[in-house]
């Protein structure tokens, strides 16, 4: 089994923290992991991507080949489309619905969403709203992890444990909010596009 994930977003959106949670859960399952990150200049509000590779066999490279990714996981709709050439023909895009507008020529959202939905199983998740309902807008990354978990071959309770460990140092309520956000994201992905429609 190998599972290659391209994570996308804008510098500062916490793409690396998402990668870290999934990687942690994968390692707890005894899988090999490679997590390639972007540091330095690109982190300043620019397009960023990270490659996360999970496998039960040794992993050769740090980069995912074109046509090799099982999943594109994005914090933002436009960024989710930047890396489509990496996606396998039957790959999936999971993205937060909310645009991150820090450029003047941010395009019309309609055609962007339509393009994403051109992939049969893709999911556009109302991540900010679900995070707010879960108790904190800051848990938006956990909603995305939750939505992605529906497509990643790692047991969801393993992911939950990884989240609990990560926030373990904080108050119990923080852990709870993040776990609720995870569950909401997972449920919305399982329910199909309904959650992202609004």
């Amino acid at each position: 089994m190998t599972h290659d994930i391209v994570l996308a977003g804008v510098g500062g959106q916490g793409v690396l923290s998402i990668a870290a949670i999934i990687a942690r859960a994968a390692m707890a399952e005894g899988l090999a992991v490679r997590q390639s990150e972007v540091h330095g200049m690109a982190q300043r509000g620019g397009a960023v991507s990270a490659h996360l590779r999970i496998s039960d066999a040794p992993i050769r490279g740090d980069l995912i080949p074109s046509g090799g990714a099982d999943l594109i996981l994005s914090m933002e709709p436009v960024e989710s489309l930047r890396y489509v050439s990496f996606l396998k023909p039957d790959g999936v895009i999971v993205t937060a619905a909310e645009p991150f507008v820090n450029i003047a020529d941010y395009p019309d959202l309609g055609p962007i969403i339509k393009a994403i939905e051109g992939l049969a199983r893709s999911r556009v998740v109302a991540a900010a709203e679900l995070a707010r309902k879960a108790g904190s807008i800051r848990a938006v990354n956990m909603v995305i992890v939750g939505a992605a978990s529906a497509f990643i071959p790692i047991a969801p309770d393993r992911m939950e444990r990884s989240i609990a460990e990560l926030f373990g140092a904080k108050e119990a309520s923080v852990v709870e909010v993040n776990l609720r956000a995870f569950a909401a994201g997972r449920a919305s992905a399982a329910a199909g596009r309904a959650a992202g429609a609004e």
Binding site: V33, M41, R44, L63, G91, A115
Partner: protein, 548 residues
Amino acid sequence: MGINDVVLLGDEAIALGALHSGLGAAYGYPGTPSTEILEYLIGLYEKGSGPRASWCANEKTAYEEALGASFAGLRALVTMKHVGLNVAADPFVNSALVAIKGGLVLAVADDPGMHSSQDEQDSRFYAEFAMIPCLEPANQREAYEMTREAFDLSERFQVPVMIRITTRLAHSRAGVGVRGARAGNPLGKSTDKAAWTLLPGNARRRYDRLCAIQAELQAWSAASPWNVAEASSRAADFAVITGGLGRNYFEENLGDLGVSGPPSRLHIATYPLPIEKIRRLAAANKRILVIEEGAPFIEKALRGILPSGVEVNGKLDGKLPRTGELNPDNVRAALGLVPRPSARIEVPPLPSRPPQLCQGCPHADSYAAVAKAVEGLPSTLITADIGCYALGALPPFNVPEALVCMGASISMAVGAAEAGYENVVAFIGDSTFLHSGLTPLVDAVSRGAPITIVILDNSITAMTGGQPALLPSGRLEEIARGVGVDVAHVLTIDATRAATDANVAVFKREIAHRGVSVVIARRECLEAIKAKKKKGSAAVEAAKEACE
């Protein structure tokens, strides 16, 4: 994963490898993608669980401090990015001539593709130039193991040893099996004075010695198990040589090489090049494709090593791109494989999203004020330097016209002013100023060059992740005055939007001044404030008010 596996960035694997080699001291200057090597060691040092590890004013001082520790008998690590080695080139090249006592390892991270750099120079050329050994890991485990070996080699051959990595390894995590640590060296300086005092007579003898040990280095490289040759049963038409990450991308495509089977291959991880292994591979094959990360270093050498009957493919004949990084796809194409199919959907044209200054960054206010101050002025020329503020060269600011290397903002401004430009402004960050701005300031003052230097003091090295400034904020004024800038032309301003009008007036006045002006534009970086907030510091509120 095994019980001793630790998940590490490539950078961190080097740090841990050094630590377990009995490290006595580590120095460096932050620079992407090398920063996390020393950051890891500084974290341990500050907790009291590791040897001295410190950021330095620049790569040259870092190298020399490591050299001093080695002279004193300790094992020393020095870290930098590829262009940093240009700054440290003087001590680096000369240190190959001394009799290294405590192992001295230079870990340098190259940035092909220029993710966060001004060029993509390949440090292997420096290793060859200085005639010292170089090891090139291709994964995190090798980074750990080769760093350990590098310390042994350095003490065995009494020369510094380079570990060369590239961006993708530096910034990728994987599990690494670690082994026990060994004890450090006791303090005890080298007693070989003649080898350490590089007067011409001594240096000549040392250079002869360096030339003489090249055969031993060659023998070491030839026998190194890191250079793996695998013969194939395939017809002897085609072989592959990989270097660094090229091996990973080659193996990624191996399964698709089909009926003809995998070609014979040689992976090269040690320099000087293992010439005999290369010759043996070439003797059995008509064509060799070289897949190496960075410049066509091995490829160029092959053209000198091999008989003319062997066809060499790589970056020089366009089989692989001459610039940028290797990846699984361009390696795939070089192997003659068709692209893998990917998802087919209609993607509308996407806007590019280049990096930009944070919303509310103090640099933005400084650029805005200077842009206003020079509006309508004739004969203007504006330079800038390396750091977040380099992004001011992009829209919406478009202020700097030249930006080349650490410190060049000031020296280029001096040259341009002396050439005849009248209204010349140089932007430089506080850490870049301490790194390489002091010496050109001395030039400027010594000749009274009519330039305005804007030191952007955000009290942090922001671009590389927020290393604290070496000297307390506030020392810059004293430095400028101490060097001899006229007291009336050393000014400090608040880099805030609210102060724009006042700042424009200051800049107008100073730009008109026919001598050196130093304007210190002060406000803390937003990331620094965030970091402090995380630490629960009280200074945050005051700093935040200044931003608004």
